[in-house]
């Protein structure tokens, strides 16, 4: 009994990991953490409505109170990093659309930037503007989906449909210009694959109008709702120190007051010439993370409004060789996806395929903080926390 008690205490301590951590990968209680009186373990996923994919959490519960959350990964691991090693620098970009499928453009953008960095290609001004426009449209679409899905996690079904109404018009724009609605492949090393569709500006302006006409519904339906605020405020607290320690990035970190917007800190493309604010909230709870994302949509709208009438004329792609060969060396780029910092590290041996590729995906680090946040709260809160962390499982598993 004594031994069991110490095991439990050790595993409950923050940053448990030094020495012998009692851990069993199948969630078997006999060899895993000791369960106290009235404790039980429950498998949350991999098939569960609230995990939005195949995330598997083994939750140790006492009644409704969470004692421990263990994410078990690997259900949708496609070894994208290994696949990239056998694909050329033109080919591997297409695989990355399948990582964080809600910000496919931004993933592609990171890859294109890394290859351009290695080749030292200057991207034409028109391509830069198009890329930023696509990134921001993607960000809005991603946040729309997050908003609807998070409200659904909290038991409100209607916002999902309201969110999809606006997201649909972005998807239409993407379909026209990139030929795909979800896993878009538009950015290539040196610029974008082909020029914008003639309707692009008109459609984007229509979308901006629609968005402005409908955005007040978001606040009326969800943000101002007293049940929603009670479910969000003071729940899932994450301090700025913990956010940094766990490597949380993106809106989840900015909800805790950690300035982490790559677009501001390490500007790429034309972000340093644009006027937009880094949205920061200091409360650190679920509601702060919620407000960061809502306000980020407004900032993305601001960026689009600045650019949509000022797309410069010129080439949409720089002249590059048919077979791209990166010089020997290491190349690292980072971009701000809708979920946080996406880092891409390429080690090149001088050939036409990368020697090694490593993605630093935002979802993986953001998921790691879930156990720390969820301990002591109820199951309903866990779902709300997962909602505000905006987890995309293929991004975590790759």
């Amino acid at each position: 009994m004594d031994k069991e008690t110490t095991l439990l205490n050790e595993s409950q301590a923050p940053f448990a990991g030094s020495g012998e951590v009692p851990y069993d990968r199948y969630g078997d209680t006999s060899a895993g953490i000791a369960l106290g009186d009235g404790d039980f373990q429950i498998n949350f996923g991999p098939q569960h409505p609230a995990t939005h994919g195949v995330l598997h959490l083994v939750i140790t519960l006492n009644g409704e109170t969470i004692k421990k959350v263990e994410p078990h990964l690997g259900y949708i691991h496609r070894s994208i990093e290994k696949m990239c090693e056998s694909l050329t620098y033109r080919q591997f970009i297409y695989v990355t659309s399948r990582m964080d499928y809600l910000s496919a453009h931004i993933n592609n953008h990171a890859c294109a930037l890394a290859v351009e960095k290695g080749l030292q290609v200057e991207v034409p001004a028109r391509a830069q503007v198009i890329r930023v426009l696509m990134d921001e449209l993607t960000r809005i679409a991603s946040h729309e989906l997050w908003w609807g899905a998070m409200a659904m996690d909290l038991g409100a079904f209607t916002p999902f449909f309201h969110a999809f109404r606006e997201r649909e018009s972005i998807n239409d724009i993407m379909e026209e210009t990139c030929g795909a609605r979800l896993t878009m492949n538009y950015m290539v090393p040196g610029g974008v694959m082909h020029d914008l569709h003639p309707n692009f500006q008109k459609r984007v302006k229509e979308f901006l109008q629609l968005y402005k006409r409908k955005i007040h519904e978001y606040d009326e339906l969800v943000t101002g709702n007293v049940i929603f605020q009670n479910r969000m405020k003071g729940v899932g607290y994450l301090s700025a120190e913990d956010a940094i320690a766990y490597g949380v990035s993106g809106p989840s970190a900015r909800g805790s007051g950690v300035s982490s917007d790559i677009r501001k800190l390490y500007p790429y493309e034309i972000y340093d010439k644009l006027e937009f604010d880094e949205v920061l909230e200091t409360a650190g709870d679920s509601f702060a993370r919620y407000m960061v994302r809502i306000n980020e949509m407004h900032q993305s709208i601001r960026i689009i409004e600045q650019l949509i009438d000022n797309i410069p004329e010129g080439d949409f792609q720089a002249k590059t060789k048919n077979v791209l060969k990166l010089p020997k060396g290491d190349f690292y780029t980072r971009v701000e996806t809708a979920r946080g910092e996406l880092g891409l590290y390429i080690v090149s041996e001088g050939g036409n395929t990368p020697y090694r590729i490593k993605f630093r995906s935002p979802g993986f680090s953001n998921l790691s903080v879930l156990d720390h946040m969820a301990r002591g709260s109820k199951i309903g809160d866990l779902v709300a926390m997962m909602g505000t962390l905006d987890l995309v499982i293929p991004d975590i598993d790759r």
Partner: protein, 358 residues
């Protein structure tokens, strides 16, 4: 005028002439039972299609529109699907309890249909403790939920059942107290007398502020009692997959599903009877012409109109609000609704003693 009561009386007279009194009673009981089963099924079908259409309307979609005209036969198709599905019993489940639980849910819902006055003089059983009977029998509902959750041998089901137990037992109190407010005004528990007392005006108008507070408390409490969103913690799709009926499939699941909808109908019917005058038409004193026009609308239309309005309100709740957390749910009941309804009952009693209501 043509009404249900005339049909019922006609049948009764014909039966009395043809058979001796014992057989008449037995045949009438069987007829009533068949009517209840029929009503149970029909209400289930109607309410399911209504819920789907209401949710579609709120969510900017069309809803079911393929089966039959405007998709109205959709719930028939669903029923057929559920009937031909295999009703699984999990290996580790307590077989008897597992299979009995949905039947109890159905029986409770059917028993509750007995004292409801669907139209003028049209009631299965006008017992003298009608409202008390309803509150007693409706609290049996929790037994089926607890049985289902406990016997499923599934942790999600167990959590859902325990939540449901805590929730239904708590919200019974407010629902009971808000019903008592009206009973204090009326001075009788019999459903027909409660309706008769509202001939001069519905209690929501006659009872001043206490009646309105009681009405709102009643609506919140019965929404929680029937496990409807925003109080659907027993099912809590995004938390507990399907809560207490996670392991149920086929017709066993359908019985829970139907019982839920019939329960919604019953609580709304009780609400309409107590607060909105049951089948009583809407009258404004002194407006004789207007009152005559109102009288021409059949009493069954009045009753079902009021009931379906309340059902619509409860559906509206479901498709608008996020779900509460279990501790917030219990806080709402024990810290807010219960004290409010107790004070409200005291005020109502004072009003009844002093004769301050109309």
């Amino acid at each position: 005028m043509w009404s249900f009561s005339q049909i019922a009386n006609g049948i009764h007279e014909w039966l009395s002439k043809t058979f001796n009194p014992t057989w008449t009673l037995i045949i009438e009981m069987v007829l009533a039972g068949v009517a209840v089963i029929g009503l149970f099924a029909v209400l289930g079908l109607i309410l399911v299609i209504m819920e789907r259409k209401v949710s579609a309307w709120i969510q900017i979609r069309l809803g079911p529109n393929r089966v039959g005209p405007k998709g109205l036969m959709q719930s028939m198709a669903d029923t057929v699907k559920l009937m031909v599905k295999e009703g699984l019993t999990p290996t580790g489940a307590d077989r008897i309890m597992f299979n009995v639980a949905p039947i109890i849910a159905m029986i409770v819902a059917m028993l509750l249909l007995a004292p409801i006055a669907f139209a003028k003089n049209f009631q299965l059983w006008d017992l003298n403790i009608g409202v008390l009977y309803v509150s007693c029998v409706s609290s049996l509902m929790v037994i089926s939920v607890l049985m289902a959750g406990w016997s499923s041998n599934n942790k999600y089901s167990l959590l859902g059942a325990m939540r449901s137990g805590a929730q239904i037992v708590s919200y019974e109190l407010s629902a009971g107290l808000s019903i008592l407010t009206i009973i204090v005004f009326v001075g009788d528990l019999q459903v027909s007398k409660i309706i008769a007392s509202q001939e001069t005006g519905w209690w929501i108008f006659k009872g001043h502020i206490p009646a309105i507070i009681a009405f709102i408390t009643f609506l919140i409490a019965v929404t929680a009692e029937t496990n409807r969103a925003p109080f659907d913690l027993a099912e809590a799709e995004s938390e507990l997959t399907a809560g207490f009926h996670t392991e149920y499939s086929g017709m066993k699941f359908a019985l829970f599903f139907l019982a839920e909808y019939v329960n919604v109908f019953i609580v709304c019917a009780i609400g309409a009877t107590l607060f909105l005058g049951g089948w009583m038409p809407f009258h404004i004193s002194n407006w004789t012409g207007f009152n005559h026009v109102m009288d021409y609308i059949p009493s069954s239309v009045w009753f079902f109109g009021k009931t379906f309005f309340l059902i619509f309100v409860i559906m509206w709740f479901r498709w608008t609000f996020p779900r509460l957390r279990i501790d917030q749910l219990l806080n709402l009941e024990w810290k807010y609704l219960l004290p409010i309804s107790m004070v409200n009952l005291l005020i109502a009693t004072l009003m009844a003693i002093m004769g301050w209501h109309f």
